[in-house]
Symmetry: C2
């Protein structure tokens, strides 16, 4: 069975998945890189962003599943592709913008970018193809399922799209990471999800790095790790 | 040095310290007892509320410090004393109301109840004396320090008073417990506390019971466990 998975999605103690004020210079607003330092310190993170060997403990065991699980497509909110909002003219250079992720993005599959402003698809090196779709969670999932060919689908974030997919009952397995900082403002992950625990087995695993790995696995029949 | 401590204060994944709709029947509103089941399952909790032996693992190691640390006074919000709000006439039986905690409350010290509606003190069996004070956090702490005679002071909650004491920079050591439920509504603990991590060492310890014990220890000189 093809599962829809959230992987390595970091939130603050107060439940913000990103800070306030997303800009070209600060993709996570005032949160800066603080939500993701745990990942940069792992072998997986160093392999992706550079900086030496990295840790190989529980943080890496979770993080590296981004690459080792059999993912056939990703769905992401527009903010994970770029800082622009509204029609694609905000930066005056939107036509050249090919995402935050460099020439060879780490997805290696079709990626469905949720936006109210569709534009032509962009094919990158390494197998990533960005498709821009004005779609409900259900519609986006149907597109991703077709593209994934029976493999799993990664729901890449940010907080708004994750919240919408949870609310629509479409998330099978979620790996969230609680970072011990209080952001105070930004985009909240949990709003509108009262009682989510009724539908999920929830596991909390603390790491020596200071973060907690939070796992949610849907109780529905057929969902197994 | 006398420290001000928070002990065993439970919050949901989404950071609520209590649910919505505090009533006589539901002291934690729609949260019911779900924020505290972890404690009821411990040896400490069973000793306080009954029900057999209880667990003696990490949950109990934290919980039992409520009684084993040298606490000389408690400060609590009015909701931890009773369901009444406003002047003491709401239930028509306020004169007889002596708190949620039975004839011999588990505090055994002076307890300063924060309220805008002072009333005469109430002396209970076992050493607990409830004093009702219309006081700022600083003023309440001064009263508690004098009563505690050099011993530590427990800040008993709820979420509103904890938030106010954190905001005033008055909390030395906090033990919070993150319970894997999404309450969705109620009183948030973290609001207004952006950047709290700058002032505290933060430890997260997961328990087989499913909760995470969250420890905050102030970096200020002289604060040691």
């Amino acid at each position: 069975m093809s599962l829809i998975r959230i992987q390595n999605f970091s939130i603050s103690l107060d439940g913000f998945g990103t800070g306030e004020g997303l800009t070209f210079e600060e993709p996570f607003g005032h949160a800066g890189e603080r939500l993701h330092e745990w990942m940069f310190a792992t072998r997986f993170g160093r392999g992706m962003f550079g900086g030496g060997d990295g840790s190989d403990g529980v943080d890496n065991a979770f993080a590296q599943r981004h690459d080792t699980l059999d993912i056939g497509a990703e769905i992401m909110g527009r903010g994970k592709f770029g800082p622009q909002t509204g029609p694609w003219t905000d930066l005056g250079q939107d036509d050249e913008w090919r995402g935050w992720w460099g020439d060879e993005p780490p997805f290696h599959t079709p990626v469905f970018v949720l936006t109210h402003h569709p534009r032509p698809s962009i094919e990158m090196a390494g197998g990533t193809v960005f498709h821009f779709v004005d779609a409900s969670p259900e519609e986006a999932l149907a597109l991703a399922r077709e593209a994934a060919g029976g493999r799993d689908i990664r729901l890449g974030g940010g907080a708004t799209s994750i919240r919408e997919f949870f609310a629509a009952g479409l998330v099978d397995v979620a790996h969230l990471v609680v970072v011990p900082i209080v952001l105070g403002r930004g985009v909240r992950l949990w709003d509108g999800l009262e009682g989510l625990e009724a539908d999920y087995e929830i596991e909390q695993v603390s790491s020596p790095s200071g973060v907690v790995h939070l796992g949610l696995t849907r109780r529905a029949a057929g969902v197994t790790e």
